[in-house]
């Protein structure tokens, strides 16, 4: 080889590597700044009047009552504190949770087409919700959370079925993906059956509305359940970064590097199901973010999951909040469902990155 002609020394290499690391952190910081800006923008605009100054007054007076910041009008308090802010927080946690789940599952199953719904969760949640909507039947009626509880429980049921099938086939990534697809089809058939036999037209449109997904149901009450579960799941998924990096070289190599691939897969299946289920039981099916936010992040900062997972979380939060804000504002006073807006805005951006980036970022 040409080792004699190269002039790089270890010191040069370290500076080069240091630069790469700094660039990754800068990208993450830039996304964070964009996220803050989007939050402020989203707080300041809506179908009714309160603007940024008033919004901040409300938030600070609520968050730090001892500061005596001065009274805000009751209307502003209602709009900012009980409508806009919970919705923004819901967008952040949902976007971050779905994107993190998508990034880890893509990494662990070594497949770029995997999304956080790979285990058949979306159809299962849909079926669970439909069952509750049509018949008022739920296997988990948590203090009035009929639809939400049922959607959540059916996500877990889907995961357990997929896990059991994959376990028989030695927990290979192919078996998880195929079992997930099969279970997904099973539940979507059951979901169609539900819609077909639903006695009332209202029930059918309620199902369709639920399936479209949206953040309009956000409230502090819901967030109290959803936020802690998803936040903990995200943090736990981040601790898997090294395992996922090593697993991308294959299960045998992972074993030789001291990583138990089957255990890592099982842990992450549970984490991602809990995170995704906690989100979509409240919001309905929000697609696209979980698939694309990780890919945009891969293109921006590469595939080292120690950086990729936090970056995906921020990117997912940013994408979902931006989409929801646009959806809220574009045809005021009505709004577009967030799922439609994410795809309409995200797809052109994704295609642009795909064409512009010369390097191949997933194979």
């Amino acid at each position: 080889m040409t080792t004699t002609t190269t002039t790089t020394t270890t010191a040069d290499l370290k500076t080069l590597y240091g630069k790469g690391k700094k660039r990754k952190l800068l990208v993450i910081f830039a996304i964070f700044l964009a996220l803050i800006a989007t939050i402020l923008f989203s707080l300041s605009f809506g179908a009714s009047s309160p603007r940024l100054g008033e919004a901040l007054t409300v938030i600070f007076s609520k968050a730090f009552p001892f500061l005596n910041i001065g009274p805000a009008s009751p209307l502003a308090v209602t709009i900012i504190w009980t409508i806009r802010l919970p919705r923004i927080v819901m967008a952040l946690i949902a976007g971050a949770g779905l994107a993190t789940a998508g990034a880890t599952m893509q990494g662990i199953l070594r497949n770029p087409l995997v999304s956080s719904y790979i285990l058949g969760i979306s159809s299962a949640a849909g079926f669970g919700a439909a069952l509750a909507i049509v018949f008022g039947v739920s296997i988990a009626t948590l203090a009035g959370y009929l639809v939400i509880g049922n959607a959540f429980v059916f996500c877990l049921i889907a995961m357990i079925i997929v896990y059991s099938i994959a376990r028989i086939r030695g927990m290979s990534s192919e078996s998880v993906i195929l079992a997930g697809v099969a279970v997904g089809f099973l539940f979507s058939a059951l979901l169609s059956l539900m819609q077909y036999i639903a006695p009332e037209k209202n029930a059918v449109s309620a199902i369709v509305f639920w399936l479209m997904g949206g953040l309009y149901t956000a409230s502090w009450h819901n967030l109290l359940i959803c936020f802690p579960i998803v936040a903990v799941a995200i943090l736990l998924m981040m601790t898997q970064a090294w395992n996922i990096n090593v697993l991308s070289m294959g299960e045998e190599v992972a074993t030789s590097l001291g990583v138990n691939s089957k255990r890592v897969l099982s842990i992450n299946m549970i984490l991602e199901t809990v995170a995704t289920a906690s989100i979509i039981s409240f919001t309905g099916i929000i697609g696209f973010v979980d698939l694309i936010a990780p890919h945009i992040s891969r293109m921006l900062i590469g595939n080292d999951h120690r950086y990729l997972i936090p970056c995906s979380a921020l990117m997912g939060a940013l994408m979902l909040l931006a989409a929801d804000t646009v959806g809220r504002l574009i045809i005021m006073p009505t709004e577009l469902p967030v799922g439609i807006v994410t795809s309409l805005l995200g797809v052109p951006f994704f295609i642009y990155l795909l064409i512009r980036k010369r390097r191949q970022h997933f194979s």
Binding site: T3, T6, L13, R110, N111, G258, G302
Partner: protein, 275 residues
């Protein structure tokens, strides 16, 4: 550090692959496992590294049963270089070599980990590729990256599954010289499975010749690479002579295969007649 394989048998549901394999590899030895396709070379390496699970007490390091170690503990003692390496997502060369530090790090990379990774890349002459994408490298360069990753594990024992089979003659020699150097200067025990009998003869201290999952012959290249052994294991006639390096050199004789050549010509001639 001494590796002992003790009466190892392994099989899948379909049948057994390894039968009562015994072998010993000592400090500073470069050992080759040779044998025909399907004779169990790769399976043996995977069993030694516990990628495939075996009965207790079949793989021992310094007399200690490795099935009592966690795979993390084992990964600090043993490095493994697979036959082919494909990454599901593109990583830089530096990131791939850094994966070898996995047994030692939890989250953040320390200065020591960085130093070891840079050292190993320099040792293998791939330091100038550090920031290139692994998937864009040639086969020979990739093989060196994977060897560097295995060395970053700081193992005492290195297992390589056909490390030379997809390389050109220069890279073959480079890889084997590096392995030889590791056994001589660092006292590593290195086990390679290899198809090229002449390379094995040239570089390895000891050869184990596998036939259908059993060790048919073992010993120095001179002892193992005889015309009789090669005929018994591979079913071909070969001329074995001593090369200018003083090691045996195997020259297969093709007379046995003239049958195949005439069969193929006959097959196509007949087809043409029909058409």
């Amino acid at each position: 550090m001494k590796l002992t394989v003790n009466n190892l048998s392994f099989g899948y549901a379909g049948g057994s692959i390894l039968k009562n394999v015994d072998l010993n590899v000592g400090l500073g030895e470069l050992v080759a496992i040779v044998g025909p396709n399907g004779s169990g070379k790769s399976t043996l390496l995977k069993c030694i590294n516990r990628i495939l699970k075996t009965k207790p007490n079949s793989i021992l390091i310094d007399g200690q049963d490795t099935s009592k170690l966690t795979i993390k503990e084992l990964s600090k003692l043993m490095g493994y270089v697979p036959q082919t390496s494909i990454s599901a997502f593109p990583f830089t060369v530096f990131d791939v070599v850094m994966m070898g530090r996995k047994p030692y790090v939890h989250w953040s990379i320390g200065e020591r980990d960085n130093d070891i990774v840079f050292q190993m890349m320099t040792l293998l002459g791939i330091d100038h590729l550090a920031m290139r994408q692994f998937s864009e490298l040639s086969g020979g360069e990739q093989q060196k990256v994977i060897v560097a990753r295995a060395l970053a594990q700081q193992p005492q024992i290195l297992l390589l599954d056909e490390p030379t089979s997809s390389l050109d003659i220069r890279h073959q020699l480079e890889i084997l010289c590096i392995l030889k150097g590791l056994t001589q200067s660092k006292g590593h025990a290195v086990i390679v499975s290899i198809h090229d009998l002449n390379l094995a003869s040239r570089f390895c201290d000891k050869l184990f010749m596998l036939k259908r999952g059993c060790i048919y012959a073992m010993g120095t290249p001179e002892e193992v690479l005889t015309a009789q052994n090669i005929e018994a294991v591979y079913g071909i006639k070969a001329d074995v002579s001593t090369s200018i390096t003083g090691k045996p050199v195997v020259m297969p004789l093709v007379s046995d295969f003239n049958d195949f050549t005439s069969k193929v010509s006959f097959f196509f001639e007949e087809k043409e007649l029909k058409a």
